[in-house]
């Protein structure tokens, strides 16, 4: 029995390993120097260098990553704040039209983004906000909010309402109740919500492409348009891609426990 298990384990790791090979290959490429880059046969073993990363900094290519960080962090935090509050209300109380609200929230997942690009573009143009961080942030809050509400609600639902009631009798104000009781109790879940929102916003391209300008464009836009850039070089692209994708990989290992729950409630893309 044991041998069989090891056998399948090895097979599985080989298959998964082959499957994610492209990621590995690019990471490898990021450390190759100009010469090794295009060598045929392609080298697996070589002396790694930091050249590409240095060049990225010289060309100020990391501005795009900084933009990504700014836009992503602000939108996911605001989204979680608004979403958590709404989730609390929806979890605990019956409101007229509550089911309608929930349905509306889920249905936003079905919408193809393409329907939104023109009106959103027009909206932010009229407001004179084209190319600003704010326009992207406002849009992304809207994108991540339904999921934040839905996921937060599932975590809050798991807490018995008698905890709320006990806290009321204990004399906690609502805010203190959130700060000292509820949020600590569902903290890991909220972190997972943040991570899922982060991945969504961090990876988004279409709207960012439309709403940003060359100074505010996030990394996704920078990378997508990189073929036409001056001084385009696969080595630097690989380095940039490594910097761009590693954070997400690290994060999904952090929230492994919640991956299935979050993804099967509707993949957020």
């Amino acid at each position: 029995m044991n041998v069989k298990k090891i056998f399948w384990t090895i097979i599985a790791f080989i298959i998964v390993g082959i499957y994610i090979f492209p990621v590995y290959w690019i990471y490898l490429t990021a450390f190759k120097d100009r010469a090794t880059l295009f060598e045929l046969p392609p080298k697996f073993i070589f002396t790694p260098v930091w050249d590409n990363f240095d060049e990225l900094m010289r060309y100020n290519a990391l501005q795009a990553v900084v933009n990504s960080v700014i836009v992503t962090s602000i939108s996911i935090l605001v989204s979680l704040l608004i979403g958590f509050l709404a989730a609390y209300g929806l979890s605990r109380y019956k409101y007229p039209g509550k089911n309608l609200m929930l349905f509306y929230i889920i249905s936003t997942r079905m919408m193809p983004p393409i329907v939104f690009i023109i009106p959103i573009y027009m909206m932010f143009s009229y407001l004179g906000m084209k190319g600003t961080y704010l326009s992207m942030i406002l849009f992304y809050i809207g994108v991540t909010l339904p999921f934040a509400v839905w996921m937060s609600k599932t975590f809050i639902d798991e807490i018995s309402i008698e905890i709320d009631q006990a806290a009321q009798l204990d004399g906690f104000t609502t805010i203190d109740f959130f700060r000292k009781i509820l949020i600590p109790m569902i903290a890991p879940g909220l972190v997972a919500v943040l991570v899922f929102s982060l991945i969504t916003v961090w990876n988004e391209f279409l709207m960012a492409n439309i709403l940003s300008d060359p100074f505010t464009r996030p990394a996704s836009v920078a990378l997508a348009n990189i073929r036409g850039e001056r001084g385009f070089n696969w080595g630097r692209v690989a380095a940039l891609e490594l910097i761009y994708t590693i954070p997400v990989i690290i994060l999904i290992f952090l929230i492994q426990k919640y991956l299935v729950r979050g993804l099967t409630l509707g993949v957020v893309r």
Binding site: F13, Y19, I82, R92, V115, I120, L145
Partner: protein, 296 residues
């Protein structure tokens, strides 16, 4: 203030926000679709009722893109499902490190499509890509993965095939995840009974496994069919719709209409048309799976 009224104020911001960022633009787009509004030619939008829709319905360009979209879906969807399910079964066997494997396997799904597309753009380069090198060493082939040559047997351009394959690479893990979730609902007792009864593998699949994963597969099918229309990033990066227009699936075409042709009116109409199709697809599938489910 009463707790209940206070929490009502908590819910309002979210609802309002979604109204402004989601519902309002949707209605705006719907409204736009009834106007002739091309930023290049018209100064002011002109109301034309359902003319836009009529024109699009007769537009060969639109039909061509629908065909391309259809081919794209026909290649990528079955591939995703078969591959995804097989790997789910693989991960379902007795082995070590299942969670690690699943997490690793989810990487393609969770990193940016833009990044994934670039990975493959590099790997599939006709001249220095690793894939072609391997193929040339083994078989002496040199494939222009992003070219307009037709793939033997399938009859689509290599470019379209490549886009479909990259999308498959990205989304197969999603199917695996769903199937794994479905498999985990099979009660242990049922499995033990099956191994005691010593039935054939095929029958095992048909009668024991399949009923449990069918609802999940159905859900995944609906989701993926709808999502297929959303494919954009990979196309933008790999082919920009080309060569020619061979990889312009319908949503890419809409994008071009709007932000290269600046024809907001038609683009809105077309995007709404797609929305309707997606909704219709959803209802068909929901019907099928609810109805079928009740039959049994």
């Amino acid at each position: 203030m009463k707790r209940k009224t206070l929490t009502w104020f908590f819910v309002i911001p979210a609802i309002l926000y979604l109204f402004i960022i989601n519902l309002f633009p949707l209605l705006w787009a719907l409204g736009l679709s009834f106007f002739k509004y091309n930023l290049l030619t018209e100064r002011t939008p002109k109301f034309v009722g359902v003319d836009n829709y009529g024109q699009l319905f007769n537009d060969p360009n639109v039909w061509l893109r629908m065909q391309i979209t259809g081919k794209f879906i026909l290649i990528s969807l079955p591939l995703q499902f078969i591959l995804g399910t097989l790997i789910a079964f693989l991960l379902y066997t007795e082995l070590y490190g299942r969670r690690l494997l699943l997490t690793l396997f989810l990487i393609p799904l969770l990193i940016a499509p833009v990044a994934s597309a670039l990975f493959f753009r590099f790997l599939l380069d006709a001249n220095f890509g690793l894939v072609n090198w391997v193929l040339s060493e083994l078989f002496g082939w040199k494939i222009y993965w992003l070219g307009s040559e037709k793939v033997p047997i399938l009859g689509v351009e290599y470019a379209l095939l490549t886009v479909a394959l990259v999308e498959t690479w990205i989304w197969t893990p999603f199917i695996t995840l769903m199937v794994t979730a479905g498999l985990s609902t099979i009660p242990k007792s049922v499995l033990e009974q099956a191994s005691i009864d010593n039935i054939s593998l095929l029958d095992k699949f048909r009668y024991i496994v399949f009923p449990y994963i069918k609802p999940i597969l159905g859900l995944a099918l609906i989701l993926r069919a709808m999502d297929a229309f959303k494919t954009f990033d990979t196309i933008y990066v790999l082919t920009a719709g080309g060569p020619g227009v061979s990889t312009e699936i319908i949503t890419f075409y809409i994008y071009k209409l709007a932000f290269q042709g600046w024809d907001f009116g038609s683009a809105s109409a077309l995007s709404f048309g797609i929305l309707v199709i997606i909704l219709y697809l959803t209802t068909i599938f929901l019907d099928y799976f609810i109805f079928k489910g009740e039959e049994e």
